[in-house]
Symmetry: C2
């Protein structure tokens, strides 16, 4: 399978690394909106091509992995490039998924391509676990916790505060809340009871630290509904201790069965990830394999992880899967 | 969807309870090898029919759920009844799945029916999690722990010991082993390091307790490779504290990503179940919905959980799933 990567940031680089771990997948091209001569990639011998020439490559790529942002890039890019390629994206603005799906589905069907949107872990693996668990336990409660991990949105918000030179925000699930859910107590949890926020801030020289802390902690939408801790650190500490992009989280379904609903059950799925973009990329590459196969069987239109039978993700045959993994 | 249950033991009763929780599913008949007049079921108005008459019901049932044992029942029953019905079973002898699959697939295709074998949680949900996690993290290690829960096989073995009136065995994962796996340490674990076994035994009057304990702890295949604890209790204590059939377990995948494999990731799936048969039954009913739909689309032959796109398990539409669960 020949894969093209469109957009070479953290996610695109993660896709490149994931391809290296899958011997049936080959990186064919990296497409970029930048000047291609300025983009240095890790894989030897793979051309970097300007996105303005991408149409010329439509027969040279089996699946195009679109590594763009959900706010403005993907709503335009995915419906556009599915005209020329089978495509996959990691669109993660949950509220806008139905619209994005409809746009991509229409464009995909017009040209007979297949697309898969919202691959990754949330949406993605977390969604799958919510779906499976809801189907198994129709009477119950869902809980999702995120972290410990870096929130890009909250880190960006910190960095916009006056006097802040650099900053990173970690979302942390409250251990007592997780324990209560895990014990089947079905707690009702406020926003504050589910997560805390921890900020590491490099202040500009002479900045008013108390003012920065106050401004962060009271920031509407981002921090005001949470218990937030702010640590001031040096640029050196920041580089040494906060260079990574870890993330993760927990999905629970707590439900009942039995004639009188007398039995409790807890289903838990959790991820602990050193690198959010590399894990997301690894999910994407597995689903790229799946849609390439499905397209070979004549399937087109827009899909999500809900529509893909798990066996399509694997390079192994049905016989091998049944013998070794069932 | 009209469901028939074949075999009314713990699992059959669990299926009956699960059907009550799914408004699009109707229990049509219970088929039994016993004298139907001796079988009292929970659902009012549903006929109990002798299995010898089952062929007469082939147009009155959309999916037949076969609730038999994996050792001798299912290898015969599933290939037999798929001649007349779409069927689903919970065949759980992992080593014999390929043979069972081949037999059921042949019989199903000859009559245009669909079958799904090995539904439940292991095989079943645990298998799905192994598959997804292996596809996402191709370089890594798998770990499965069972418990805390009742092992029927080990409980049966205890009850065969001379001087034992009643007994139950719990399989318990070793917490330190789970912690090491969860921390990404990729430990190499012996059988003894993964699980301990705890036995609750009601002795016959005047039995030699030391002899019973010794015989249990040294029993080949069942206990000799484990650290086993034996508690002697009264019949009253047994009835009060050990009437349930809880189970559960953990599936881990611990893997690496990155150009130099520099990032670690841990995927964990776990179940904590008050009732093993009721949870298994709940999985089966969701997959019964899926195969009924697939049969409506013209699909036949034998399937496993690997072959079913998750959306087929849900009574909700694709639009609803994307809006609420993705």
């Amino acid at each position: 399978m020949r894969v093209g990567i469109l957009g070479y940031g953290n996610l695109g680089r993660g896709v490149e690394c994931a391809i290296k771990q899958n011997s049936d997948v080959e990186l064919a091209y990296v497409f970029t909106r930048r000047d291609p001569s300025t983009v240095k990639i890790l894989t030897p011998g793979v051309p970097v091509v300007s996105v303005s020439d991408i149409e010329n490559y439509k027969d040279k790529v089996d699946v195009l992995i679109i590594c763009g942002g959900s706010a403005t890039d993907l709503p335009k890019m995915t419906p556009e490039y599915v005209k020329y390629f089978n495509v996959i994206d990691s669109f993660d603005t949950h509220a806008n998924i139905p619209t994005h799906f409809a746009n991509v589905d229409k464009a995909a069907k017009e040209t007979g391509h297949i697309a898969l949107i919202s691959a990754g872990w949330d949406p993605g693996m977390f969604s799958l676990n919510r779906l499976y668990a809801n189907c198994i336990l129709p009477e119950g409660n869902d809980y999702t916790f995120w972290g410990k991990g870096v929130s890009q949105g909250h880190s960006d918000a910190i960095r916009r505060v006056n006097g802040v030179k650099n900053g990173k925000q970690y979302t942390i699930p409250v251990p007592e809340a997780i324990e209560a859910v895990r014990n089947g107590e079905n707690p009702t949890l406020t926003t504050r009871q589910k997560h805390t926020r921890e900020c590491f801030v490099v202040p500009e020289e002479g900045a008013d630290l108390a003012k920065i802390e106050q401004e962060i902690k009271t920031m509407p939408n981002y921090f005001d509904e949470y218990d937030t801790t702010v640590h001031f650190i040096t640029e050196e500490e920041f580089a040494r201790d906060h260079a990574g992009i870890p993330h993760g989280g927990f999905v629970f379904r707590s439900g009942v069965t039995g004639w009188e609903k007398e039995h409790k059950h807890v289903i838990e799925y959790s991820l602990k990830l050193d690198s959010n973009p590399e894990f997301t990329a690894s999910v994407i590459v597995a689903y790229a394999r799946a849609i390439n196969r499905l397209h070979g069987e004549g399937v087109n239109g827009c899909k999500t992880v809900f529509d893909i039978a798990p066996a399509y993700l694997s390079p192994l045959s049905g016989d091998e899967l049944r013998a070794h993994l069932l």
